[in-house]
Structure formats: C-alpha cells, structure tokens
Amino acid sequence: MRLPDRFWGVWCVWRRYFAVFVKSLPYYLVTTFLEPLLYLVSFGLGVGSLVGNVHTQGTELTYRSFIFSGVIAQTVLFQGFYEGAFGAFVRMYYQRIFQAIAITPITLTEVLWGELLWDASKATVAAEVVALIGVLTGDFPPAALLTLLPVAFLSSLLFSAMGLAAAAYSRSIDELSYPQYLLVFPMFLFCGVFYPIDALPGALQSVAWFFPLTSVNSLVRTLTLGLPFQIQSIAILSAWLLALVAVAQRSMVRRLVR
C-alpha cells in the first residue's frame, strides 16, 4: 500500500528515529526504561512500606499502587519533555537534521510532526512498561494496558510539544534549564505524582489543576486504579495539547525559516 505523500513524509521521519533507536538500543534501554524503574523501586517499595495507605477521592489505596500510577504520569512527562527539548535541540542546532531533511520532498512541517510523533511513541512505550510492571505486581488490572494507551500517547504528545517549543525558544542548550526547573520539576513535585493533590491547601490545588500533569495523573488513576473520573481533566488536557502542538510547530518554523 502506498501512503499519501504527506503521511509518508511523517512516517519516513518517524522511521528514521526508530532506526536510530534500534541501532543504539542498549543506550536507549538505559535512558528510557531505567529511570521509571528506579522510581518504582525507590518510592513503591521503599517509601511505600513506610506510608501505608492513601485516602483520596473517597477511595483507600496502598501507597505502592498510588505511586505506581504516579510514575506512569511522571514517565510520560520526563520522557516526552526531555526528548522533545534536549533531543530536538541537538537535532535542530548541532546535527541540523531538520534542515537537511526539509530540503528533500519532505516538508519542515512533516519533519516536525515526525519528531513529535516519535517522541510521543517512545514516551508511550516507557509508560506502558511501567504499567506492565503494575499489572504483574497485581496493582493494575490487565485491561489497563490497553485503556491507558490513548491517554499515555496523547499526554506524551503534549509534553513532547512542550519540549519542542522550549527547544525552539532556547538560544542555547543551557537555556533549556529554565523550562526544566520552572515548569517540569514543579509539575513533578506538585501535580499529584507523590501524593494526592487534595493534601495541598485549596489555592494550591487550583494552581495544580491548571498544569496538565494533574489531569494526566487523574486520568491514569481512573484507568489503572478505578478512581472516580474527573471530567475537567479531559478539557484541560485537550486545551493544553492543542495549544502546545500549535505553538511547538509555529515556533520551530519561525526559528528555522527566515
């Protein structure tokens, strides 16, 4: 089957990234999968044995189950953002891969879609590996692996777009530390990865809900632990996703094309 030109261009770029991934598999296995596994062991088994149970949204959970689902959201955040930010910055600024491909029959827009979809694919696989461990330990139902897939992928796309936009606005690779410390780490610490956000004071809860990771955590816990569905999470994620993909594409085109 011959793909239409536009989709084929995106697919071709995605395949380029996949080929590099396969070629450097040992490196990517460590950088992609080891970090969430370390969080799982450290917080799930270590801290989890001290904390006991967690009460949130009228439900009682073991802390291990709670943190396992939080690590899924954290994986999506870190893997999506770092590949979109640091990975794309290297490819755009040092390797000039975007520029090299975008003077072939593949357009710059297709190159950027290929980049985003690859970043999101990689983060999704990492998140699914965490979910699989949760299933094997009995913390999640097996069906969660499937139901989680679209949420993990769209959330990964959101954070990849956030990273790509950050790369487009950064003059040097050092400047990527600004969004890393001002946006990613605060989300990691305050958006419900380690504790339910209802433990925060009321005003801070509202602030936490503004950031997309809270919604990701909410949806992931609905799908993996059966917590009540919070409808605002869909609206918040959709708004962030649409805005960030548009900003990432536009800002990177402006960065590269005069």
């Binding site: 395949r15 380029r16 070629k23 520029q99 593949i106 357009t107 094309v257 005069r258």
Partner: protein, 274 residues
C-alpha cells in the same frame, strides 16, 4: 503559471526581505531572475553577505520568497515543494550530515526521503562512494571523517537521487586541490547526464573554469550575467592588467573573472588598470 518544462531551473523576479530584530528590514535578495538549462553549470559569485546563500535557501524552497517564483522542472517550489524537490539535490554550505548514521547508511537513509527503494539506493550509494573515494569508509561513523571527507560525502548525498537540478553552496571550500579537481569531474559527469547545476563559490578560477555562465551578486542584486569570457570582454577594457602582488612587485597578466568581480562589486585590492 507553470514554466516551460524543458528548463530544469527557472528563477523569476525572486526577492527576499528579512525583518530585523531592531524592527527594520533588509533586502537580502532583490529581483533576481535567471534560467539554467539542462547540462549548464551556472555560477553565483559575490562577496560575503551578497545574498548567495539566502537565494539558495529560497531556490530550494526552505525559505519562502517575499516576491517572485522558482520553478524546478516546471513545478513551483513554494507552491508544490514536494513535487519540485523530487528533482532537486542540495549541498548546503553548513555541514548537515546525519551523524546518527555511518557513511553508507547516510546516503541510503537520505534516498528514502525521495521514495527511492532501499535496493536501488544501496547500489547508487555504492557507486557514489566509489566515485568520491570513500569506498574504504563505508562503515565509518560520520564523526570520524575529516572536514574534506565530510564535504565529499555531503556532495555525494546531494547526488543520491540523481537530481535534474543540483544546487551547491560553496562545495569546494576547504578542499585540497586534487579533491577539488575530482569534484569538478563529478560535476562534469552530472552535466553530461543533463543536470542543471547552480554553484555558489568564492573561487573565481573555479567559476571561470567550470561555469558556462555566472551571475555577479552584490547587496542582493545581480550586477551582470554572462559567460566568464564575455563578462571579461565587457567589463575589462584592457588586454593586460597590472597587479601589485607584493610591495613594489607588479605583475602583468591577462584579465580574468576576478577582475570583473572586483570591479563590479566595488573592490580594488591593489588591482590597477581595470
């Protein structure tokens, strides 16, 4: 409006205006027009900042034009970039090799962007690597190559799709004389296959030697276009030019393209009698 299909590259009143950070504008390319027929090598000459690279970025369709049109094999590169670029091979001034792949895979991967089947791409890549003297580097990582070898590989990559239009932005800068000659031979072979070549270069001797016609560019405008011989005849009145090559040492020689370039772009650099 579609161009006549027999002209591989047609540039029509192309202009490019940049917005400056300070708020103003700069006209990097102003109203340039030329055709390059099949089998012709066309040179773009000009000092740094003349607009050569910007013109090439617009011609490849990477930068949008402020005004004007560029047709590659009859397709408007800005309206139909995917169709137009199927016929285009570009070697940029900057190194844009994909360092995630080795020398051979570099070419094969690039060919996939043109929808060339892998089997065909491998055969073509093998031929090109042999032609460019890189056969013993097939499995080497790009990062291990010297600057000259990388440049050769980048030109080879531009040829992987057997383009009808080949655009080379200062391809011989930094190359040894023997490698430069080899590249000239490769360009001659591409011309013989009917490719139209657009070559930007700082080397006047190179332009005089391999270009059928040259355009002298300054401040984004084409000052004149013609064959090197006719440009010399038109712009240099004398048959002998005197040049002070060292303090107190005057050489007398026949006028060349460099004299035309210096005269048209307003430079003198010790050359008298233009």
């Amino acid at each position: 409006m579609e161009s006549r299909p027999l002209v591989p590259l047609r540039v029509v009143h192309l202009s490019k205006r940049y917005r400056l950070r300070s708020g103003g504008f700069v006209d990097a390319v102003s109203d340039i027009s030329f055709d390059i027929p099949a089998g012709e090598c066309f040179g773009l000459l000009g000092p740094n900042g003349a607009g050569k690279s910007t013109a090439i970025q617009c011609i490849s369709g990477f930068y949008p034009a402020t005004q004007g049109e560029v047709f590659i094999n009859g397709h408007d590169v800005h309206l139909h970039p995917k169709r137009a670029r199927r016929f285009l091979g570009v070697c940029s001034q900057e190194e844009t090799l994909d360092s995630d792949f080795n020398v051979l895979d570099q070419l094969v991967r690039h060919a996939t962007y043109f929808r060339i089947p892998t089997r065909v791409a491998r055969a073509r890549a093998g031929e090109l690597l042999e032609r460019f003297g890189l056969s013993d580097k097939v499995r080497d990582p790009v990062e291990s190559l010297s600057g000259g070898l990388k440049r050769r590989l980048q030109v080879a990559r531009a040829l992987i799709s057997d383009p009808r239009v080949l655009v080379l932005d200062e391809p011989t800068t930094g190359l040894d004389p023997d490698v430069r000659r080899m590249l000239w031979e490769v360009l001659a072979e591409a011309r013989a296959r009917g490719a139209a070549i657009l070559l930007s270069t700082h080397y006047m001797e190179e332009a005089e030697r391999i270009c059928d016609r040259v355009a002298v560019l300054a401040n984004g405008r084409i000052l004149d276009i013609d064959s090197p011989q006719r440009l010399i005849a038109t712009h240099i009145a004398r048959t002998v030019v005197e040049e002070e090559v060292r303090p107190g040492v005057i050489w007398k020689r026949a006028p060349n393209l460099e004299d035309v370039y210096l005269k048209l772009t307003g430079s003198r650099l010790g050359v008298e009698g233009l």
